[in-house]
């Protein structure tokens, strides 16, 4: 694949119960040397970015991604299903309408799920 390929790292699982979202963020950081991955959280992975949660082992990954201007998106529909709003999440992530998330996914060349 050429370096211009669009890459999405999709987080699907809740944090702390499994290391999947953490390892997904670590992978976003890792591939950012060659690509501009978009990181997207759906379903319970939305909890990964809850204010006040313990982010000791993954805050650095979020900081890194934002420092190099990479997007971290949260699916609004998933957020609403959990009864959460923008105010419940840290400011480093951006909430996107479900339709926009779908559009991003349909436009990507490769999606890697965590």
């Amino acid at each position: 694949m050429s370096e211009e390929k669009n890459l999405i790292i999709l987080l699907r699982e809740a944090p702390h119960g499994s290391l999947h979202p953490v390892e997904g963020l670590r992978m976003s950081v890792a591939v950012s040397s060659d690509y501009d991955p978009i990181t997207i959280a759906i379903d319970d992975a939305v909890y990964t970015f809850l204010k006040g949660s313990d982010k000791t082992i993954y805050q650095m990954h979020i900081d890194f991604l934002k420092e190099i201007d990479l997007d971290v998106f949260v699916d609004k529909r998933s957020l609403e299903e959990l009864g959460l709003t923008k105010e419940d999440l840290i400011e480093q992530v951006e909430i996107k309408e479900h339709e926009e998330i779908l559009k991003l996914i349909s436009e990507c060349d490769l999606l890697i799920p965590f």
Binding site: A14, P15, H16, G17, S18, D44, Y47, L50, K51, G52, S53, D54, E81, L82, G83, L84, D88
Partner: protein, 98 residues
Amino acid sequence: MGKKALYFITTEKRSGIEMALENTEDEVTICLLQNAVFFANKADKQITKALDQNKTVIALKEDVEIRGLKNLIPDNVKLLDYGEVIDKIFEYDSIINM
């Protein structure tokens, strides 16, 4: 029968909490650990149903706190530390691990 049953739920599989809700005969306590503490989010219909049924709902305090859920959990869900969860385990006649 009215015996004391502890539903000890440690995953996000819905079947665990559903089984607990369907037990309306016994004195049921629902104990949530690990990702199961997400069920205690007040937006979750099943937790509301459990509390409406006057079931006791317990969640492991540390698991609630590391997930940043403290403000999202109804007041009548009791937060216990590891030692208090251990005490609870011995109080019940039966343990339904889910």
